[in-house]
Symmetry: C2
Subunit: 106 residues, 2 copies
Amino acid sequence: MTAQLDQVFSALADPTRRAILAMLLEDDMAVTDVAEPFKVSLAAISKHLGVLSAAKLISQEKRGRVKWCKLDPDALRSASVWMQAFGQMEPVDLDAFEAFLSQELD
Amino acid sequence: MTAQLDQVFSALADPTRRAILAMLLEDDMAVTDVAEPFKVSLAAISKHLGVLSAAKLISQEKRGRVKWCKLDPDALRSASVWMQAFGQMEPVDLDAFEAFLSQELD
DNA sequence: TCGATATTCAACCAAGTGGTTGACGTTTCC
DNA sequence: GGAAACGTCAACCACTTGGTTGAATATCGA
């Protein structure tokens, strides 16, 4: 359990990974499309997605040659919790949550 | 903003630091007393406290030769939230928590 | 003043992280 | 079949992290 928390928090500690989560809030995406807005390599993004997946913040499903990434619903709940913690004290509001996350996209 | 989040999440990613926060939820403590239950060295705990302090999750005040560590009131709220959310620690008594908060804000 | 207590600092080490590049296995489509 | 697209793997590199030990600093108490 402690190890799971370690994974979740260290996954959230990286701005690229938080940006990825923000993108996935919009819609499910293929790995290549996730990587597109970033300046780092596809392999780097693939690793980030592996970290998010290990932390169960996202799930990945391969259909054909495309691997789709989607937010894990439970993770969304956890994410809303930490959003509440830092800043907005209003009860969890997904629109506000999305806006908060979007601020992080440079 | 992003850098601050980086600091907070990576601070929370370490189980020793989360345990320290849980201890400080009970009461303010001196560095030596914080270190007592852990098997790592005092210097290691001192570093952990530095990380928590940099993330503004705690504040430290030196009185005499003793340096007191206390949860940052804002951080206290967040700490209670994630502790409950992830169910790692026993649930926080929110009434006692509020009382503690107002006492702290004299 | 002297010794004990409280805490940090400095140097070091092993392991982990985020990044790269290039090769590799699949799947799609003409 | 063969080229292109999708994604991962393996090896490597620079940097960070959590830990150690030992010396240093500062304050207290007798």
